[in-house]
């Protein structure tokens, strides 16, 4: 097995006295497709925030390519290829859709063959290039989140519930898109409540419950795991 691209080691995050993440450890291999599941409020987005540097960690380590990155400012991590989308879409409100992508491309991306227009076309947003984010629907807003993350030319892409609210067909489309991106060499962590998408996409599943990792392994085994079932279905 090749060396892991991302290593999270004994990561703990406290908000005041509340422990949102408790000694979480996990690894993501180069080129892997990892699904991250867990009930609402279990700490998935907090884990993304800790990995990307949006919130400081309380203890533990985060490594990219065996280099510690947990003390780097977020923009350095993005420039190293660690890119995440936001669960609640947070576009740059005064910039057009195309310029939203341009910021990511200028600062985190490398001059890639994918032009802004191609990326927008990939997500069906090409007609909106000159529009402002407030003119988009919630669903288009989620697609913009994904398009902007892709514009940053990620090595490791963490998508946080980009499919919420999408139709059946659209979910399939996005899964297909992410599979192709992965084939092109991008390692992807998918956070998602839509199990159909998670199962179609993931090579491995990690489940977090109340800030602790309770399962990590083959998707079928994880979804059959007693802890996971209990967390989702109750006692």
């Amino acid at each position: 097995m090749t060396a892991p691209l991302l290593t999270v080691d004994q990561l703990t995050k406290r908000f005041g006295g509340f422990v949102a993440l408790d000694q979480v450890s996990l690894q993501v291999a180069q080129g892997e497709r990892l699904g991250l599941i867990g009930p609402n409020g279990s700490g998935k987005s907090t884990l993304v925030n800790c990995i990307s540097g949006t919130v400081p960690i309380s203890s533990g380590r985060v490594l990219l390519d065996r280099e510690r990155i947990d003390r780097l400012p977020p923009h350095r991590r993005a420039q190293l290829g660690l890119v995440r989308s936001f669960q609640l879409p947070r576009p740059f409100g005064s910039l057009t859709i195309a310029d939203n992508l341009k910021v990511a491309m200028l600062y985190a991306g490398k001059p890639s063959s994918d032009s802004i227009h191609d990326l927008l076309a990939l997500l069906g947003l090409e007609d909106k290039a000159g529009r402002l984010p407030r003119e988009l629907t919630q669903i288009e807003m989620r697609k913009l989140e994904l398009a902007r993350a892709m514009a940053a030319n990620p090595r490791l892409l963490i998508v946080d519930e980009v499919m919420a609210g999408l139709s059946h067909a659209e979910v399939d489309e996005i899964v297909e898109l992410l599979l192709r991106l992965n084939e092109a060499g991008v390692t992807i962590v998918m956070i998602e409540h839509i199990m159909r998408a998670v199962m179609a996409f993931s090579q491995r599943l990690v489940c977090i419950v109340a800030g602790r990792k309770v399962a990590d392994g083959d998707p079928r085994e994880v979804t059959g795991d007693a802890h996971v079932l209990k967390a989702y279905l109750g006692e």
Binding site: S52, P74, A78, F92, L95, K102, A104, Y107, A152
Partner: protein, 312 residues
């Protein structure tokens, strides 16, 4: 239009105004022209930080007055050419910008603004007790009677200010369309997301704070010669801070045109009010205009124009 073309256009404007100036015999025209150019420079400088990055600076007077007072001090020591005074003013105010940025840029929104206001108050207190430049009783300067190339000194001051104002506008436009401009827009819209997409927010904010401060210092450096008598209450006048905020707001803060339109318009309105009503009416008019625009046209005149065009 490319940056080079725009720069050449600016140069052409300077030359045109210089040629037109040959025909002017009334000294007042240069006095008024200086005031307009000075406000274009100040408003453009303010807008780099306030309009592009969204950090509202209430301390314009501090940077501006610092430029003026450093100019008084250096002039007292060496009497160097004006260009040297301007450069020293830029350095001094740029350095204060750097220090202020370092201390305050981690503060967001209104806290940053309050810190800049505090800076202005502290700076005024320091200058008021700086005896070398006249302290609270102020400093008199002998304005040379003629400029270095003939013509009156006020005429010369006008062209100097004009060149700086045009230069600042060209610089602002270059920045607006550059990588830095996109980074600043990201900071203005959502700093945390900007960071997550690779924008080095702290470094960019420091850069524009220094640049903005330096330009304000440059605007202040010729002031002692323009007014011939400088004391702290006039150099640190509230009007500078209020006007430099009002001008980009009224013109439209997200583009380089906004501060230019706002500066020309407000200076004209104020000069008229000064003559026809009273000098006290000035700030009141500015205040009213600001309230009007903030509540009815938050994106200024440029925003209104864009709205009309997109509906047409």
């Amino acid at each position: 239009m490319t940056n080079l073309r725009f720069g050449l256009l600016g140069l052409a404007l300077i030359v045109a105004l210089w040629l037109a100036g040959r025909l002017v015999t009334n000294e007042y025209v240069f006095f008024a022209g200086y005031a307009v150019a000075q406000y274009i420079l100040l408003a453009t400088a303010w807008n780099l930080l306030g309009g592009y990055a969204g950090y509202v600076n209430f301390g314009t007077a501090a940077f501006f007055a610092l430029g003026a007072y450093v100019s008084v001090a250096v002039n007292k020591l060496f009497e160097p050419p004006l260009i040297v005074l301007i450069l020293v003013g830029a350095l001094a105010s740029g350095a204060v910008g750097l220090a202020m940025g370092y201390l305050t840029l981690k503060l967001r929104g209104v806290f940053f603004s309050i810190a800049t206001l505090a800076l202005a108050i502290v700076a005024q207190a320091v200058v008021t007790n700086w005896e070398f430049v006249g302290g609270s009783s102020g400093a008199y300067l002998l304005r040379p009677t003629a400029g270095p190339w003939g013509g009156s000194y006020v005429e010369y001051l006008f062209y100097v200010m004009l060149v700086m104002a045009v230069g600042a506008v060209v610089l602002a436009r270059c920045i607006e369309r550059s990588k830095i401009g996109f980074g600043l827009a990201a900071i203005r819209d959502d700093e945390l997301v900007g960071e997550a997409y690779g924008v080095p927010t702290l470094r960019l904010k420091l850069l524009v704070t220094v640049l903005s401060g330096a330009l304000m210092g440059m605007a202040g450096a010729p002031l002692p010669f323009y007014v011939a008598y400088l004391d702290p209450p006039s150099a640190f006048n509230l009007a500078y801070a209020v006007n430099t905020i009002a001008m980009p707001l009224i013109g439209g803060a997200s583009t380089w045109v906004g501060p230019v339109i706002g500066a020309v318009l407000l200076t004209a309105v104020q000069e008229t009010a000064m003559v026809t009503i009273s000098s006290a009416a000035n700030l009141m008019i500015v205040g009213l205009l600001m309230v009007l625009f903030i509540s009815l046209a938050p994106n200024g005149i440029m925003g209104l124009l864009r709205g009309v065009r997109s509906r047409a």
